[in-house]
Symmetry: C2
DNA sequence: CGCTCCGTTGAAACGAATCAATGAAGGTGG
DNA sequence: CCACCTTCATTGATTCGTTTCAACGGAGCG
């Protein structure tokens, strides 16, 4: 049940029933117990938006105007370090809300970038804040979301970003976390991005990946199609073995 | 305003008014709006407890029976990795609650160990859960705590645990975060612990620290007293310069 | 006194970063 | 449609930093 990996899903299998405007899970929770009028007002306020791969949803340090619910696909949250260096600190999946922090904060904490095709709801932050303060149920739900995010962030970092752990192991762990629905398909990030997450130079990532490929631990799809560009095929068992090393 | 460093305070200056049983900040919030009867019942339920340096408050994976409020001092939260390796993932300070996660989870997520002398309130988790579900104000407060913890955890890791950042820089950043009240006193962890946080072998930590000492960036107190064993003296400005490097 | 734990220091081996060169793919404009 | 440029992944050779192994000294403790 890795919540980081959960969210990824193949681009081919869209879920139509969840794509109806305003009908994503977070929005449903926010609207729980609302009147028909309120729902109608909500639908006029909420934007539905689609983003293509590597498009930016919002930039860090800019003022928060809207909150984003991920209806389909995945986005990466990038933090800007004190020296301007960028780091992926979280990956959000279907059903997640980006920037819950905005309840208490005035500006975005991260830059958000689409991984593959993404569709989101954009909820005006004022409405979001009102909705939260008004409903205990919503607060508990957000509290739970926030706490699981906290635990995820900790495991994410403590397993991936430690240099005492061998780089092969860290990379294997990352690949496992990037699995699509815990299957054998692995979301394919660029080698620079993979390196930025586990703290390795892109060349090193390339070498380890080449090694994995040679040992059939992962397979790089061939061809120019989207499948080849967006996914690896992973031998989950072999990866898990490497992930357990040292 | 580094929230990680905030909590540390010298062991000499205790705050008597905050040490009254049930009179810590978190407990006050939990009791906001309660009747006198409820307060009386609360006081019979809550344990006051003191822990000495390096004592264990609770172990990871054991069932949650009580929630801990830090009334004085600091504790480190240690996560156990998939291969049994230990890592410090957070440091809690005065006014923090350990294991807010217990609202939704049945077992401790971390092992908690005292840094220096610590006093805490132990609140039965059942009471805690009831109190939370009953009060919107408490929920919002916890939500805020949880969200700031999330942001802290991210900055903590993204600044300290990346191997592309030079080890000197990472160690300098850590030392800055371990300052007592943002002063020149630095809480002195063991070299193994420092290494476990920034991902370095203890020998390497020792070497860098020796280098810092030679350049008067930090000073190791001499003698066998508690001061020498528990603190470094840091040249904040020099450390900040190193922390900005690359 | 001997024991262990912890920090220190040295020398050697290893791993990863760096520098550098090449090739494949995508986009643009002629 | 083909040159051109840019971006990205690959691979090799070298350098550098850190780990590892090992030995030593001090502090606390039975």
């Amino acid at each position: 049940m890795d919540p980081v990996a959960e969210g990824f899903q193949t681009m081919s299998e869209t879920a139509p029933e969840i794509s109806v405007p305003g009908k994503c899970l977070p929005c449903e929770v926010l609207l729980a117990g609302s009147s028909t009028d309120q729902r109608a007002a909500f639908e006029t306020l909420v934007d539905d938006y689609d983003f293509a791969h590597s498009q930016v949803l919002y930039h860090a340090t800019t003022p928060v105007d809207t909150v984003y619910c991920v209806k389909m696909g995945a986005i990466k949250l990038v933090a800007i370090g004190p020296c301007g260096e960028q780091r992926i600190v979280r990956i959000l999946k279907t059903g997640d809300i980006a920037e819950i922090e905005s309840i208490f904060s005035q500006q975005f904490e991260h830059t958000a970038i689409a991984i593959g095709d993404v569709s989101v709801c954009r909820i005006p932050v004022e409405w979001f804040r009102r909705s939260v303060t008004g409903s205990g149920q919503t607060q508990m739900w957000l509290l739970q979301k926030s706490l699981t995010s906290l635990i995820n962030a900790e495991t994410w970092f403590s397993q991936l970003a430690i240099s005492v752990t061998p780089s092969r192991t860290r990379l294997a762990r990352l690949l496992l976390k990037l699995r699509v629905d815990d299957g054998h398909q692995i979301y394919r990030l660029g080698i620079k991005e993979l390196g930025a997450i586990v703290g390795l130079a892109p060349e090193t990532v390339s070498r380890i990946l080449a090694d994995f490929d040679g040992k059939n631990i992962i397979t790089k799809y061939s061809g120019n199609n989207d499948l080849a560009k967006r996914y690896f095929l992973g031998n989950t068992q072999a990866l898990e073995e490497i992930a357990r090393e040292v």
